[in-house]
Each structure stands twice: as structure tokens, then as C-alpha cells.
Symmetry: C2
Subunit: 333 residues, 2 copies
């Protein structure tokens, strides 16, 4: 390994001078600068960032912990984060909490041991994730979701507004028999979307809660069909889902059973993942400003990592209703 020592020897100066030239921290004689640069070039010297980090007490690296990397919403978020960081010469370290608070806690601790300068956390649980941050001496920003009772920076979108927009839209299209299909409200976003639905439609509105998957959407569709069979009021005229994966599952489940979509039943999603647009019928959904969320989160975090210590900030970006064919046509009664 080529070290600063080697460069210093080759350039005929001390390592202190090499460091000054490379970091431009103090004025150095022109000719010394030139010979240092030449030596660096000739020897192919590259700074060892581990040593640098140890001495400077900062690593220029940031950790991101997400519940499940493979879920289509997170890669886009990670992409935005990675770009924001790279623009500032920071490196991204990634961990997947596998939707398990215990794993999340381990991963956060391991990353803190690596002396990352900050943490971006998408908490996997509204309550249990609190333990992941306990006693952590590290700037962090919560992304997308919050943790109950924790005053911290958070960047996300306004889920109540988003869900209200969906319901307003459906009603304007003459849909009035709404069912909610979502994931269990273990996260702040799932809870808020559910609560917004109940607040708009009524506390006794029908809801089905499962997990965040295509398969759950399919099963929920069967449940709706079974319920319609056994009397009651037939199918709802709109199914409101709290994410796109579930919505697409519902669409498949209903279509496979021969239900006339979207005429008989409208379906809405949430998140606007890439496939929502090419689904058949294309899915009406709530677009999350995911680039802005990622970039803002990075900005807030780097501010804190840079020593600023403002009161906790809550940034709620406006989501946007994207109307597509899955809510076209009028209600059937």
C-alpha cells in the first residue's frame, strides 16, 4: 500500500506537508505543491479513508435502514438518498430490518459501531422501533414513517390528505360503498391511512387488514367475493387499498373471478410504484414525492451531522392523486 510516508519521501517533504497540499488546509510553497502532486501521480497514491476517519472523527458515511429492500417503494427512495449523498461525497451503508424490530435494533447498533455520521431510518414498527434508537448518540432522521412519542426529524408525505383525496375522488365518480383493504396498522403510515379512511367514511366502515403483499390483496378479493355470495349487500363499488401491491392483488383477484373492472368495482392503490401505470386497468393511486423525500431527508441529516441542532422538524410533503382507469366509469347503482 502506498502511504503518505511514501509520497513524502518521493517528494522530499514531510508527511505534514503532503497532508496540507492534499487537503489545502494551509499555504504551501508552489514548488513543494508541484512535487507532491507529481509524487502522488507517479506512485498512484490514494488516501486511506479509514485512517482519515479515525483521526477526523467522521467517516463521511451515512446508514439507511429499511424494512424490506425488495419492496418496490424503497429502491426508489434509496436511489434518491444515494444520489443526494454521493453529490456530497458521502457513502451509503444499507441494512434491511426484515420488518423485525429486533433485527432493526441489531443493524442500527452495528452501523453505529462503524461510526457512520448519521442514520436514515424507515422504522418497521410505530412503537417497537423506539428501542432501535435508545441511547443512540448519532444524528438521525426518520423517513416515511414516524415512531410514537419520539420527537425527531421526520420527512414523509401527508397520508391523511392523500387518503382524503382518494375518497373525494371516488365519491365524485359516484362510488359510495367503499371497503378498505390494507396492512395491519403497525406503522404510522398504515395507521394514518386507515384512520383517515374511517374518519371520512364512518367508524363502522368495512375494513380488511393483512400485510403488505400481492398475495394478501388476492386473498382479500376472495373474501370480498365470498361475502357477496353469502347474501349481505353484494360487492362494494370501490376498494380502497393502502398500497399498490395490495391493490394490484385485489385487481387480479376480482378480474380472475370475472368481475367487470372498473365498471362494477373501482380499485385504488397508494404509492404509485412503477407498475401501477401498466397494471390492467391502470391503477388510480397516490403518488408519493419520493425523490423529494429522499433528498430532504439527506439534507436534514447532513445539517445535523454538520453540527447544527435545531428543534425536531417535521417535513410533510404533499402527495398527489394520480387518476387512471381503475376508477373510471360510474358506480353501478
Amino acid at each position: 500500500m502506498v502511504t503518505m510516508r511514501d509520497v513524502a519521501d518521493a517528494a522530499g517533504v514531510s508527511i505534514a506537508t503532503v497532508s496540507r497540499v492534499l487537503n489545502d488546509t494551509r499555504p504551501v510553497n508552489e514548488s513543494a505543491q508541484r512535487s507532491v502532486h507529481r509524487a502522488v501521480e507517479e506512485l498512484g497514491y490514494r488516501r486511506n479513508l479509514v485512517a482519515s476517519s479515525l483521526r477526523r472523527q467522521r467517516t463521511r458515511s451515512v446508514a439507511a435502514v429499511v424494512p424490506h429492500i425488495a419492496n418496490p417503494y424503497f429502491p426508489r427512495l434509496i436511489q434518491a438518498i444515494e444520489r443526494g449523498l454521493a453529490a456530497d461525497e458521502h457513502q451509503l451503508l444499507i441494512a434491511d430490518s426484515q420488518d423485525d424490530p429486533a433485527v432493526e435494533r441489531d443493524r442500527v447498533a452495528a452501523l453505529a459501531d462503524r461510526q457512520v455520521d448519521g442514520l436514515l431510518l424507515v422504522p418497521c414498527h410505530e412503537h417497537d422501533s423506539a428501542a432501535s434508537l435508545e441511547g443512540l448518540a448519532l444524528p438521525y432522521v426518520l423517513v416515511d414513517r414516524t415512531i410514537a412519542g419520539l420527537a425527531a426529524d421526520r420527512v414523509g408525505s401527508d397520508d391523511v390528505a392523500g387518503m382524503r383525496g382518494v375518497i373525494t375522488h371516488l365519491r365524485a365518480r359516484g362510488r359510495h360503498r367503499l371497503v378498505f383493504v390494507g396492512s395491519a396498522p403497525d406503522t404510522s403510515t398504515a395507521r394514518q391511512r386507515l384512520e383517515a379512511f374511517l374518519a371520512e367514511v364512518g367508524p363502522d366502515a368495512p375494513i380488511l387488514l393483512g400485510d403488505y403483499s400481492l398475495d394478501w390483496g388476492r386473498r382479500a378479493a376472495s373474501m370480498l367475493l365470498a361475502r357477496a355470495e353469502t347474501g349481505h349487500d353484494g360487492l362494494p363499488d370501490a376498494v380502497v387499498c393502502d398500497n399498490d401491491l395490495v391493490a394490484i392483488g385485489v385487481v387480479r383477484g376480482l378480474r380472475d373471478a370475472g368481475v367487470d373492472l372498473p365498471r362494477a368495482v373501482a380499485v385504488t392503490g397508494y404509492d404509485d410504484v412503477g407498475f401501477a401505470e401498466v397494471c390492467d386497468p391502470p391503477l388510480t393511486t397516490v403518488h408519493q414525492p419520493v425523490d423529494a423525500i429522499g433528498q430532504t431527508a439527506v439534507r436534514l441529516l447532513l445539517e445535523r451531522a454538520g453540527g447544527e441542532d435545531p428543534a425536531p422538524r417535521e417535513v410533510r410533503l404533499a402527495p398527489e392523486l394520480v387518476i387512471r382507469a381503475s376508477t373510471a366509469g360510474g358506480g353501478s347503482r
Copy 2:
């Protein structure tokens, strides 16, 4: 920050002893062990991995550089890699090369400066990516794709076999007028899939080359429709795509134009991303053993990082044809 010095003082031993207890590198008196453990507990000591890395000359971290994190194939790969690494107490550092060899090169260099123990690279270009590895003194494994003329470990799947399987299947279903729609053969996988197609169907078989996106699939569909309009031989009876994104775009494009899928035209994809199954019609595609690819890549890399230096190994895992409705029904002539 609590350092080993603090622990040593609290336990009444030297820092050397603390290190020995924590790393179990040399026998230490029982009672000393106990007091060290107690001190660690009481002070909440956590090892500083930056300092440890500097001294040990290894960071227990591995870098992964992928062309585009948000493309649905890569998150699954990253997930497999992350799990494999976490099981071995290694941390994953991620970078996105944005499909640009120059960016790729920068990112790889930045990661090497961080002294990662190894690199997993999905090269963004079959030729130009060679520059990213030039003069790199770091164990690496190529994942999914290869680089021309480079003898290195590589883990991927057998694209020729996969593409052959698709064509055999289509012919068995009576489809004989095949068109290939894919991305430009800048990567080894795209090239091999294209070449396998040409080898099977004939060197003059019709092909359309674009990029790796839904939108290109849609545009390709319009081109096929336009061509069919202007005389010639009408539409092909099967469209063979070199990835699922493009295939789904083609499906949408044809359906929107009123083409009867899959009766009139069969469409196949490649990769088996999650949405292939819920596409309408569900997409016949080639499933990549992505978990196995990720795990194997990690294993090979850690072997090399551990000091082994075998001859370059090429691991080609068998892909699997997944037959779904998009290739059902017989050809129309």
C-alpha cells in the same frame, strides 16, 4: 465516547487485557474477564470499528455497485447479498453507477478508498466497465454480467439456455414468426440473449433494440403495429423480450391497440420480476435464481477476501422457464 482505555481503568487492568477478553485471543484470568465484562456493561462500551479496521487492515465491509438500484431485478439481488453478508457480520456499502461507466469508475474508486474488503460488481457495460477495475488491488466478483476479456470470478445464470428454453416453448405452442425486442447489447447478458435468439431463429430474424424500460416496450409495440399496417407480413405471432419490463410494455402497447393477447400474439419476458405474475395476461418468463446468485457471489468473494486465491471461477446457475398465460393458445396460422 467510551474507549477501551475507560474500560481498562474501570476494570483495573490494561487495555491489552481488555482487548484479549473481548476478542478471546489469549487466555485471561477468570476474575479479570469478569471485571472487564462488568465494566463494559456498566460503561456501555462499544468497540470503535474504524479504529479496529485500521489496525487489523480489514473493515468487514463489502461494496456492491449496480447499474440502477430502482430496476426491479437489483433490489432482490441486493437483498440476497445483504443477508449473506449480515450472516457473516459484514456490512454492505451500496453505490449506483447510473448505467454510466464513468460514474461506475468513480464509485468503485471511492469504495476502494474506504478499504472495503471486497467488491461485488454488476458491470454496466461489457467493454467500458473494464476501466472501473483497472489497477484495483481488491478482491472482486462480477455478478450477473461479465466484462469482455477479463478473467475473474463471475456468478450469473445461463442466458443461452434460458433463451433457448423460451424459443423451444414458443415453437411447441405453434409459434413460428418470432420477433426479438430487447435492449442494446452493451451488457454481456443482453448480448448473449440476443445471440442465442439469432442462433436459434436465424441470423436475419427481426429484432428491435432499445433500452431497459417499460416505455421502450410500448414504443416497440407501436413499431410492430406500424410495420404490420404497411403491408409486409402482419404482426408476428410471438414477441420475445430480453427482460420483463420491456415485455410488460409490449403487452400494454399491443393490448391498448386492441390486439388479442395471447391468442394472436404471445409475449415472453426475462427475469421473472414480481409483477410478471400479476401482469395481464400473466407473463411467461425466465426465472433467475437470484437468491442463489447473490449468496454464491458473497461466498466466492468472502473466500477471496479471506486470502484464498484460486483460478477465476465461473458459476452459471440454471434459469427456469416459468410458463404463464401470455404464451397460451395456438398460433393463428
